[in-house]
Symmetry: C2
Subunit: 242 residues, 2 copies
DNA sequence: CGGTTGTTTGAACTGATTCAATCTGTGTGG
DNA sequence: CCACACAGATTGAATCAGTTCAAACAACCG
């Protein structure tokens, strides 16, 4: 029973997510009535290969998807994450990146040919999705700062803070950490060995406490400071910035 | 005479750029008739502060603009570039990044309130700008791979290749390098001291030859290989991929 | 139980930073 | 035309953060 309840109670429905993001009810309905299928993205299996055509809309009902690219020497870099309630818009050509699940995920997949006409017909929808795109752009820029300018501890700290925010971890006291250390390495541009040492160090310094995958934030403010985490960039709507 | 001809002959007109990017003539005209001003972005002066409202469209007539962010400890990271013929679309809220010129640049600035209604009214324009946005996204992802996964030599080599492409350097034989070593460092996430050593090393290895700011590609293929540069991500239109 | 995935640890090494000094080219004003 | 200022490029030495390689350990699952 526990597995089933986890997969479903944790899920985010499409209308729920769209409404919370500020979309008007009649437009929510319009999108909700689009034909689509629900696909399970399994662990350790590539969901979409790099180069796959981008003629799909995706919505993450539960779990987490990652976009990744692979260096010529085969080293993998995760370039974006999509948490439950977030999505991936269609592209006009093939995607340069692949898609893989971080944890087993339920993904709603619709066709671009159904999606695009609806959006074309409603300027309000265009503005809505433009805001989401802007948010993703802002996150990408922040990740570049993370990889380019922060040291290894700060990078991990920043990722933990961002993840807690995007997963709506309750009051930032603890986080059911979804990542393996290898995945943290692939996001923050380092090796899993070093991630391990960084996490151990953060625990020694009293920033977090770990038991299994669960991470307790024993000193949230200090963790934010260490990671240089300023959550402004995560709010797609200017109204939301406190 | 040489200075004047450089500033003007190198400039890219808006209709020229839009047409080349595949936009239909009547839509090119529509955008070209928008009210706008031309502003000179000076060197070493911030053109737009981080947090400035994003209610402007910009088009780079000549020169290069950079988007940058600053870490909490004050270290600067350049997160995107806009070469002549490229632009910056309006945003719904304040921008998280600042804008600064890499070299003195002429920028056409229009108002979002003039721009948005035109785009709203023409689905073809929406598709057009969506493709440009997708291209910028792809470049951002590639930069993440660069910072996260490649060593310092590869990062610089990759940047040089990308710059040669985006500046349409003739047949990839040489490049009027627009960057200071400090700027290369701010793009590739390292220190200017190391960039200096990397460039010297690349010259020693016969990949490039330098005289002043001019860089000659003495071994373009090897430079590409070292930088892991696969230019696919730079083509906004799938047709263009050779 | 055996197999697999992920975590932890150690030791050696290396790539990149830091700090500091020097050098070069260019533009400015006297 | 020279002196000076200034931005940028170059170099050296010391240090350090992060990688690499290798091995051991823990947890989980069929």
């Amino acid at each position: 029973m526990s597995r089933r309840s986890k997969a479903e109670s944790r899920g985010v429905s499409l209308p729920e997510a769209l409404t919370k993001a500020g979309l008007a009810p009649h437009l929510v309905n319009l999108l909700d009535q689009m034909p689509r299928i629900v696909v399970r993205a399994e662990l350790r299996r590539t969901f979409r290969e790099p180069g796959a055509t981008g003629d799909e809309v995706m919505f993450v009902r539960s779990g987490i998807l990652s976009k990744f690219k692979t260096d010529t020497s085969g080293r993998r870099q995760i370039v974006a994450l999509r948490f439950a309630g977030e999505g991936i818009l269609p592209r006009s050509g093939p995607a340069e990146y692949g898609i893989q699940a971080i944890v087993p995920s339920d993904v709603m997949v619709g066709r671009a040919e159904d999606f695009d006409p609806i959006v074309d017909a409603h300027p309000e929808l265009q503005r809505f999705f433009r805001r989401l795109i802007e948010r993703n752009e802002a996150i990408g820029y922040e990740w570049l700062v993370n990889c380019g300018r922060r040291d290894s501890t700060a990078r991990v700290a920043h990722l933990l803070c961002e993840t807690a925010f995007r997963m709506h971890a309750e009051k930032n006291t603890h986080l059911q950490n979804p990542f393996t250390q290898q995945q943290i390495a692939e996001i923050t541009g380092q090796t899993s060995v070093n991630v391990n040492r960084v996490l151990a160090d953060m625990e020694r310094r009293g920033l977090i406490r770990r038991s299994g995958r669960e991470i307790a934030f024993t000193n949230w403010n200090e963790l934010r400071r260490v990671g240089g985490f300023q959550p402004n960039y995560l709010f797609s709507n200017p109204r939301d910035v406190a």
